[in-house]
Amino acid sequence: MSSVAPAVEPAAPGRASGLSATFEHVRYVLGENRVTAFAFGLLIIILFAAIFGPYIVPYDPLASDTAAALKPPSAAHWFGTDQLGRDIFSRVIVATRLDTFIAVASVALVFLMGGLAGIAAGYFGGWTDRIVGRIADTIMAFPLFVLAMGIVAALGNTVQNIIIATAIVNFPLYARVARAEANVRRNAGFVQAARLSGNGEARILLVHILPNIMPIMIVQMSLTMGYAILNAAGLSFIGLGVRPPTAEWGIMVAEGATFMVSGEWWIALFPGLALMIAVFCFNLLGDGLRDIVDPQRRT
């Protein structure tokens, strides 16, 4: 019976059923806002490179060819070659996967830590709130980048530790946003109603509050994704990045920086551009998502 129900209703404005309405809305926002549509396009390219990158690149990103070292961009090497004659185009493309992985993984991790802690703090208040708040305050009091450096330096510079460090550094941000959102909802009518319906506290938190906070959190995630990439790049720049010869944008920029003055601009420029485009894309997308999620809050 329920399956026929939506068909009965004529598609009056604003009354389209859930999914298609969302889709409509997304399409509207993308249509209205060219910039977001553009970011969306970029995201697709980035995801494509991350997934298929290793299979489509013309050269092995790790293979050196000292005879062809430091060649400027050409038909054979679109982005030129680096000191060891590795193809920069291939390296930039292949690095997409690692960099997006670092971004996604650290964001997922901080969402699990900060997001949940923040929601619990906002919802339960009291001691939970105080403890989570104190932790967030303490982390905030650190110069964040230096904290990330410290963590990576202490734990060792592996991808895993870079992810952990980035997640920890973002903890306060997530905890605060989640806390604020949960706090305004803790006494909302629908939460009271859920209590009346016999939902336990944990269930209210996870089933009723969390999904309502998700949109805001997704925006937050998109924005911090960019920050995660920048953070990893910064760590690489001071020598705490992933291990060579792994292709990673930050490392490539840092290595290329030495060559900039001597005229081999392409070594730093292309990874730098890739880095910038990715961060740019995530940032714009975050803005766009905010539009979709909550047009009032657009910034």
Binding site: S64, Q83, P244, P245, A257, T258, S262
Partner: protein, 516 residues
């Protein structure tokens, strides 16, 4: 827009840029770093120094065997002692005369403070304060503990510098009897320059000591030494003519700057220095000599020379198969890149499918080490050895080496005293010094080394030559470390700067520099 006075100041000031600066102005201090040596060398005097000769490419190069007086007026070598008469008009920066008491106090200090200075003194068999005797106000005698041909040269290195003992004692405390805290922050010597301002990590400003008697009055009045961490910026500064000298630039920059008509580039090989790949012979599978040989055959030597060093180094590989071993160090091995042979050797050693290990390097020298390791990694992968590259921050590098747990790594060693046996004592002797990072132990090796040392002391040339050839051959046969190349010291200067001299410590000697 320069005012006239500023332009004047500019012509009399030398602006040096480098990556890092001193952490201590006194070489006797605890943990003084390499840039600190430069301050010590220019601001303190020693009793004697070396003469110059013409080195590779016509660059003035210190003469290992010839000494010239610095604070001493003359040197009188006896059978078991050496006597120095001090220059009468020598004065410290504060005007106090340099006396025999100061010299003894300084040498006592060097052998007493522990750590590196004491150790370096020991390399010349200078270990006890009793060896330093004040004969009169102007005369010092140094007694030999035993016959050692390194004793006199060791008096010309940086460590046995002469310190203003009265001034430092005034500032010493009970806890710090040698006044190390005081000399850490200011120079108290009689050298050609004195530090007038030091901001750690930022700049050192030195001014000429016009009353210097250690040699001809230097031409440069003022030296400003700035730390510029970014190599690109250092190059930019040079190319734009803002900096006068930079000496730690990537090799590539030096190669390219050679073509720059406005600049003057000097490249000189490190004396007694080698960059090598080390393998810990106590850790499987590197305990197997065949594995070590296989690795030696798999190193992409020429690629490293080209892509990493841009030709600015002396190859230490690929000597002709029939070439006789020389009585010299360093000298090339007979290894060259031969993947097929490497594979065969590895199979013979029982690792036909290779193995996994880590390849470590010092992040402080990442510019060279990183591409080098990436090339080595790639090449080793071809014979089945999978390596993970492990970057170790400079400060921890020594700690890690000390633990002797790194299976495979690259490093440079170079000895101040340019004698083969000096190098081998450090790096190959069974006494297992910290520079014997491979934990290599061999009775035969120890005998060759001891033999050479003794032969040198008594001047037995034939025995000496045989022993040197013996230990070099053995080192190449057992191959615990694979020499790659002899690095170059590269210095880039503006065309109007001249007078560069190469010293064993490889730091700048301002005293000879001239800015036109």
């Amino acid at each position: 827009i320069w005012s006239a006075a500023k332009a004047d100041a500019r012509s009399e000031t030398l602006l040096i840029v480098s990556e890092s600066g001193p952490n201590n102005l006194d070489i006797h201090g605890v943990g003084t770093n390499v840039p600190g040596y430069e301050v010590s060398w220019n601001c303190y005097d020693r009793l004697i120094s070396h003469e110059m000769k013409s080195g590779p490419g016509g660059v003035p190069y210190y003469d290992r065997d010839k000494f010239k007086p610095e604070l001493a007026e003359d040197m009188n070598v006896g059978d078991m002692s050496v006597t120095f008469k001090l220059k009468k008009n020598a004065k410290f920066h504060d005007g106090a005369p340099v006396t025999a008491k100061d010299v003894k106090w300084s040498l006592d200090r060097a052998v007493s403070v522990g750590g590196f200075p004491t150790f370096q003194m020991g390399a010349g068999s200078l270990t006890k304060t009793e060896q330093f005797v004040v004969v009169d106000d102007n005369t010092v005698r140094i007694d030999f503990a035993k016959k050692d041909r390194l004793t006199i040269p060791d008096l010309a290195v940086i460590v046995p510098c002469v310190v203003n003992s009265e001034l430092v004692k005034k500032n010493a405390t009970e806890k710090d009897p040698w006044g190390l805290e005081y000399t850490k922050q200011q120079t108290a010597g009689s050298g050609a320059y004195k530090v007038v301002k030091w901001t750690a990590g930022t700049e050192v400003v030195m001014e000429r000591n016009d009353a210097w008697v250690g040699g001809p009055l230097p031409k440069v009045k003022r030296v400003v030494w700035r730390m510029v961490p970014q190599a690109g910026n250092r190059r930019a500064l040079l190319e734009r003519g803002d900096a006068d000298i930079s000496y730690d630039l990537p090799n590539k920059d030096f190669v390219e700057l050679k073509d720059n008509v406005k600049l003057n580039i000097v490249s000189v090989p490190y004396s007694n220095g080698v960059q090598y790949i080390g393998m810990n012979v106590k850790i499987a599978p590197f305990d197997n000599v065949k594995v070590r040989e296989a690795v030696a055959c798999a190193i992409p030597y020429q690629k490293i020379m080209d892509a990493v060093l841009f030709g600015l180094a002396k190859p230490m590989f690929g000597a002709a198969a029939d070439k006789a071993t020389e009585v010299a160090w360093p000298q090339p091995t007979k290894y060259f890149t031969d993947i097929a042979r490497a594979k065969a050797l590895l199979a013979e050693a029982g690792y036909p499918n290779g193995f996994e290990t880590t390849l470590s390097f010092d992040l402080g020298f990442a510019g060279v080490n990183e591409p080098l390791c990436v090339l080595v990694q790639e090449s080793l992968a071809q014979i089945g050895i999978k390596t993970t590259i492990n970057k170790i921050p400079g400060a921890n590098w020594r700690t890690e080496l000390n633990k002797k747990v790194l299976p495979l790594y690259t490093n440079v060693f170079s000895g101040w005293l340019d004698y083969p046996e000096y190098f081998f004592i450090w790096c190959y002797d069974g006494k297992n010094s910290i520079f014997n990072t491979m934990s290599y132990q061999s009775k035969a090796m120890d005998e060759f080394i001891a033999g050479a040392v003794d032969a040198a002391a008594v001047g037995n040339t034939a025995k000496y030559d045989a022993d040197v050839k013996g230990f070099v051959d053995l080192a190449f046969k057992d191959i615990p470390r694979i020499p790659l190349y002899q690095p170059y010291v590269n210095v880039a200067m503006q065309k109007n700067v001249s007078g560069y001299q190469y010293w064993f410590h490889r730091r700048l000697d301002y005293r000879a520099l001239v800015k036109a």
